[in-house]
């Protein structure tokens, strides 16, 4: 069995979740604090979009945006020397785009459930908005944020369609676990496919349980 997909998938999912986590939270915070209800709803709709597109189609669009011949892809290549499409960064990109809506949406719901008086209390105590966010809003929305994190991580780990499109299925470079599973299945090697599926399941299970455990420990204050 080839172990490179495991490594690639782990690297991809980890890199993606770090990015998604913070960007998703930032978007959520931004949208929650919007004044205009209408703008808010529109932004919400836009941020949820990637979820509704079939991943392969999303992959197509990504390819049209980040392909080496397209302006943005070219820009990255010329100025940063980073080739996005068909490289490891493309697997990360695909995972991020496809998992962002979950992170964003869960974080938003969680933020909305936090008692606003706590934020006001922080303000009158002179805490900066930054530290109010990290020390009050974030910890008190943790359950929901973590839900989003778990969803986003799992989605990133399982991302297949967009990845296959924009990153390709290049063994040892961009072949993630889901792609490896696909390859095995396509070749009729169900035995090999099951092995990879098992690894995928165990991996996600470990991470999800780990994340649950961390929150459990962290949220001592909630337990009576």
């Amino acid at each position: 069995m080839d172990f490179s997909p495991i490594l690639i998938s782990m690297k991809t999912a980890s890199a993606a979740i770090v990015f998604t986590f913070f960007v998703g939270i930032a978007f959520a915070y931004w949208v929650v604090n919007m004044k205009h209800e209408k703008v808010k709803m529109v932004c919400d709709g836009l941020l949820t979009l990637p979820l509704v597109l079939p991943p392969t189609v999303a992959g197509f669009f990504l390819l049209y945006v980040f392909g080496v011949k397209r302006p943005i892809g070219k820009f990255f290549l010329d100025f940063f020397g980073v080739k996005i499409a068909f490289s490891w960064s493309a697997t990360v990109l695909a995972a991020i785009i496809m998992s962002l809506p979950m992170m964003y949406r869960s974080a938003r719901g969680a933020f909305e459930q936090v008692d606003p008086n706590l934020l006001y209390a922080g303000r009158t105590l002179g805490m900066s908005e930054w530290s109010i966010f990290w020390r009050i809003l974030f910890p008190n929305a943790l359950s929901g944020i973590l839900s989003g994190g778990i969803l986003a991580f799992a989605r990133g780990l399982g991302e297949f369609g967009a990845t296959a499109m924009i990153a390709g299925n290049i063994a040892g470079r961009t072949q993630t676990l889901p792609l490896a599973v696909y390859s095995k299945v396509a070749a009729g090697d169900m035995q090999g496919a099951y092995q990879y599926v098992l690894i995928l399941v165990v991996l996600s299970f470990l991470v999800v349980t780990g994340m649950n455990y961390v929150t459990y420990i962290y949220q001592r204050y909630n337990r009576r």
Binding site: K69, R70, K83, A164, G168, G172, A186
Partner: protein, 259 residues
């Protein structure tokens, strides 16, 4: 950290490649990327690539396997493939027209047969290809995107069965789907390549498509990608695929040499 390493590795690879072409030193290591239809993956990975690498110790071959249509798009968008092998001529022709594949390197290497299959334990009494009309549901490849689908449609159209069959057909987005749907009995029958049918014993082949039903047989063309930086090595690989020992391997996997 990981990202940086990766791009660095890419850089060094690129510079090395340039050196190779300049000095044409046989000893310089070269990495080739082959983009091939998914149905070729196992013949490549298990036999052909090891054989080729043994003969040419300085060349390493990696593969990316997916549906031909997707690979076509990816080559259009600049994937760094050196060799492209498609499961149908349509994709190859398009790329040649767009001058993304060198026209004179293209070889129509293999031929594949399309066959009517049912589940191994099917009780349906199907005898020949035209019996497909007896099945209640049929799994086909999507003619728009899956090569085997194009051939299925062509064959059925020529047999005058397309309208009847398409009304009860599920158009799979890839061959695996078709195969599994038939194997699991979701579809009573389906049309796939003979090579696909050979990958599993859960389906049985009823009949090949009648010889006259296809204007052109299902061809697997191979060619060198124009943007390749290792054309020499790429050509070497294409040539290797045409050798007798390679063809023998292909035939083990159910392909037929195109003459």
């Amino acid at each position: 950290g990981a990202k940086k390493d990766d791009s660095k590795a890419d850089d060094t690879k690129a510079t090395k490649t340039e050196e190779t072409t300049e000095s044409a030193k046989e000893e310089e290591p070269v990495t080739l990327m082959v983009a091939a239809a998914a149905s070729l993956q196992y013949s490549y990975e298990d036999k052909l690539i090891p054989m080729f690498e043994k003969e040419n110790p300085n060349i390493t071959v990696t593969g990316t396997y997916d549906s031909s249509g997707k690979l076509q798009t990816q080559i259009e968008e600049g994937i760094e493939a050196d060799v492209f092998m498609s499961a149908a001529t349509k994709q190859m022709n398009t790329l040649v027209d767009e001058s993304l594949v060198d026209k004179d390197t293209v070889v129509d290497l293999l031929e594949n047969k399309i066959v009517l299959i049912t589940a191994a334990d099917s009780t349906l009494d199907l005898k020949e290809f035209t019996d497909i009309t007896k099945a209640q549901t049929v799994a086909l490849g999507d003619p728009e995107s899956v090569p085997v689908g194009q051939y299925s449609k062509e064959a059925l159209t020529n047999l005058g069965l397309w309208d009847e069959v398409s009304a009860k057909a599920s158009l799979g987005t890839n061959v695996t789907e078709v195969l599994n749907q038939v194997a699991e009995g979701s579809a009573d029958a389906g049309i796939v390549y003979a090579t696909d049918a050979a990958t599993t014993d859960k389906v049985k082949v009823i009949a090949e498509a009648p010889a006259d039903s296809l204007a052109e047989p299902a061809i697997y063309p191979v060619g060198v990608v124009t943007a390749s930086k290792n054309k020499e090595a790429a050509q070497k690989f294409v040539d290797f695929l045409g050798t007798g020992e390679a063809i023998a391997v292909f035939e083990d996997y159910g392909f037929i040499q195109n003459k």
